[in-house]
Symmetry: D3
Subunit: 69 residues, 6 copies
């Protein structure tokens, strides 16, 4: 499946923290930055995510803001 | 100003493309990935964004999805 | 690629309307409802979308609201 | 109240799963697809949602992505 | 229609700026703050929005961030 | 840090409710309206949010909808 979301950063899962319904998944992307995703517990299971596995952080362009110092 | 958005990727503006009301801004972040943001033309002006300038791509954790191959 | 977004509705592209930077794409999904997506012109080109082609409307669960009459 | 969100899919609530602060609500829409919404527990109560009740899944066009196989 | 979105700020439309596909609508809410919405041109027409008319700015709780100085 | 998000409503934190992973923070903004934000528990800690403290509710224009009665 190819998706319209313009941002697809390749990396490795470094942490999975499941809550009651919502999980936080951290991906270390190229360059060493950590990207945090808040997704459903159900999605964690459906994708079979595990710490150390390859994954992409995917973000729609309209959900990206720009900031300056 | 410190913001709750968990993802703040430092980089440089590599392209600004203004449309009628909506602009696309591309940031090259650490590791060389390009992040595309769709923001208002007005925000481009308010931040004084210019190609080559330093900037952050900022994303709320609830707007990040995870994908696997 | 498998994505964490919980909602992936299969359908056919019935309209593509490109603006200056932002396109509106309409998908007729099973049951006959029309789903409207606002995506970048660039994504329309990258996916090779054409009217009549098969496509999915994809939505992260945290972007779905519920309403009642 | 009429809302600008372009996507309003009519259906029936088939599941409500409350977490600590965030609930997952599933709506079966026309054509039989299940749409999952992640909303606040508070909103579930405010709307008086119950399994079997009529409801709409509502999504802003800028939150819809397109995918192709 | 009652919607799950927790934030519904009452006000008056003070500006409508239509682009090629995307419009910016500004609402002056109680207390005098101006809220800017980026919505489809089509939604502006469907709601019959006019400058000076009453309207609500509606935001899902998961789309609100918090910042501190 | 200056951010592209067009909506930055100043106010005071009136409630913080942490769940398993997701917190709900309420801000009373000018004019007396209450704005609810759903953010990560981690962000509450990183910003050092406390009830009674000054804070802004920040929303990207593309996440604001308009409604009429």
């Amino acid at each position: 499946m190819k998706i319209s979301a313009r941002n697809q950063l390749k990396g490795k899962v470094v942490e999975i923290n499941k809550g009651a319904t919502t999980a936080h998944v951290r991906i270390e992307v190229a360059g060493g930055a950590i990207v945090t995703a808040s997704i459903t517990n159900e999605a964690v299971d459906a994708l079979g995510l595990t710490v150390g596995g390859d994954a992409y952080a995917v973000v729609k362009a309209s959900d990206v803001m720009i900031a300056v110092d």
